[in-house]
Symmetry: C2
């Protein structure tokens, strides 16, 4: 490993590495009019499509620490965290991303080059080429991603449409990543929970299936409880939660039982996952990966988040 820092490489050196690593991907995508290297990038939508956009960040000291972070995995997580917001809108097709890297002068250059490799892999896997971004100096590593996608105006799934009688459901992990984060902080670097933290999967397939079906949807990145509160408030409804059939891996069950934690309470309050929470009309047949989380009730009437193994009011 070379001991060069990003400051040794200089802005031109870093830009050169970025273009060498990422430059070609954008040009190979037919919807990209203009990729990295100009003042701005440009992408084409199909007739009838609207642009769907969101922004997310991973901040050293808040979301990760360098001592337990593999930059290649961090790049994958950055993409997933960003793209998950597109999947949470329904059938949305990624168009590309803008990535800003704010880096301390003394950061090893190899760290950044590994990060770029991770970015290239994630961009290819998600068909979301890097269209541009920014480089700046900062005291700690700060990574921003802006995600751009295309969807249909009237088909996007908002947070406002849940109706009393609907089923409340989830898809994707619930509490797995938060357990992985705790293990990472304590020095573990492998295992399914740690993988769950590093490699969340934006659920584009689930989002697309739910088009025309879900009455409301959002991701659970701030924890299920918070997602439910937002959904209840935005839709003007109450919720009764029952987590007894929520997805929980064997590793998560063991993690909780070893620590004397209530599994369902852990799943209710833990953030860091990128699953989806949604509502569908009663009687809707779900596919096997989706699981029930409760039901929608009238606001103010039993306005309760109730369920075994615990009860909680919303």
């Amino acid at each position: 490993m070379s001991q060069r820092t990003v400051s040794d490489a200089g802005e031109d050196g870093l830009l050169g590495a970025i273009f060498r690593t990422l430059g070609r991907d954008a040009a190979s995508r037919p919807w990209v009019v203009l990729g990295p290297g100009d003042d701005a990038a440009a992408v084409r939508l199909r007739p009838g499509e609207v642009l769907v956009a969101s922004q997310d960040d991973l901040v050293e000291g808040t979301h990760f620490e360098l001592r337990w972070t593999d930059p290649r995995l961090l790049a994958g997580r950055l993409f997933a965290v960003g793209l998950s917001d597109l999947a949470a809108m329904g059938r949305v097709r990624p168009l590309g991303v803008l990535i800003t890297s704010c880096l301390p002068s003394k950061l090893p250059l190899d760290w950044f080059l590994d990060f770029l490799r991770g970015v290239r892999e994630a961009a290819a896997r998600h068909r979301a080429p890097v269209l541009g971004g920014n480089l700046a100096r900062s005291e700690r590593v700060h990574l921003s991603i802006s995600v751009l996608g295309a969807g249909r105006a009237g088909r996007l799934i908002r947070r406002t449409g849940a109706k009393p009688g609907d089923l409340l459901c989830g898809v994707g992990p619930l509490g797995e990543a938060a357990a992985g984060l705790e293990l990472l902080r304590k020095g573990r670097s492998t295992g399914p929970l740690v993988r769950s933290f590093w490699s969340p999967e934006p659920l584009f397939g689930a989002g697309a299936r739910l088009e025309g079906l879900a009455t409301a949807m959002l991701d659970n990145s701030d924890g299920l409880l918070r997602s439910c509160r937002i959904l209840a408030e935005e839709s003007g409804v109450g919720l009764r939660l029952d987590l007894s059939r929520a997805l929980a891996s064997r590793a998560l069950r063991r993690f909780c039982s070893e620590r004397g934690l209530d599994l369902r309470r852990h799943q209710l309050v833990s953030a860091e996952d990128y699953g989806l929470v949604f509502t569908v009309p009663a009687g809707t047949r779900l596919w096997p990966d989706a699981y029930p989380l409760g039901r929608v009730v009238r606001k103010g009437r039993g306005d309760a988040l109730a369920g075994r193994p615990f009860e909680h009011f919303l």
Copy 2:
């Protein structure tokens, strides 16, 4: 002034302030399909338009210091820095922005509320509503902006089209903001140079005028010399610079003469402005605000950035 911090307000308190201050603007714009408050925002383009997008950041400790920063002005600068990249592509219509605010826990809440007021003013002035964004905790203030605009695919002005014989020109300030920044660091807070730093103007009018006219264009945010190097390399040409007719305010002339600085050298190397540098075919009539900066020559033949009052090779 209240002594409450952003941590006292909590995430919900901050989000509430954001929606109260910024929520309505997006909804009032006919092209906005979905504004802030969902997983992602959505905007509509007109037939034939492509999305034009860029990203920029202002980082405490790198781009500004809290002790000399008025958050309302900082918000204006953030918009200008971002939107300038759209103007540098030619005739581009702003659609909106995404803004991420990463804030230290102890930051006074009033600082952030003033920043939001500045954001609201800038969004209204530029008809670029805030469509969404992100909030995170960080050790120092870190603000990101993603700008979204609409243009025509074949009409965007790239960096690659300059031809030998073209005139090299500029519009907008050159060296004014860097002088303002130096004064700010030394404790000054008023005057035309300081204003030039805080209130750059994205040159949408100039960008639009140059559609179909300029053979290449970029902004001068990293300094004229760097812009010229990029333009020469991307277009495969050489440049001969002559800054004798470059715009320079009386305040800037005085700033340089008081410090024994060569005005033209200061203008060549100073960053922080958001003017435009562009090339047009010889004989093009420019409007009064634009000024000549030299001419385009063949690469490798007189491949020189030459001019009075100094000579510099590119």
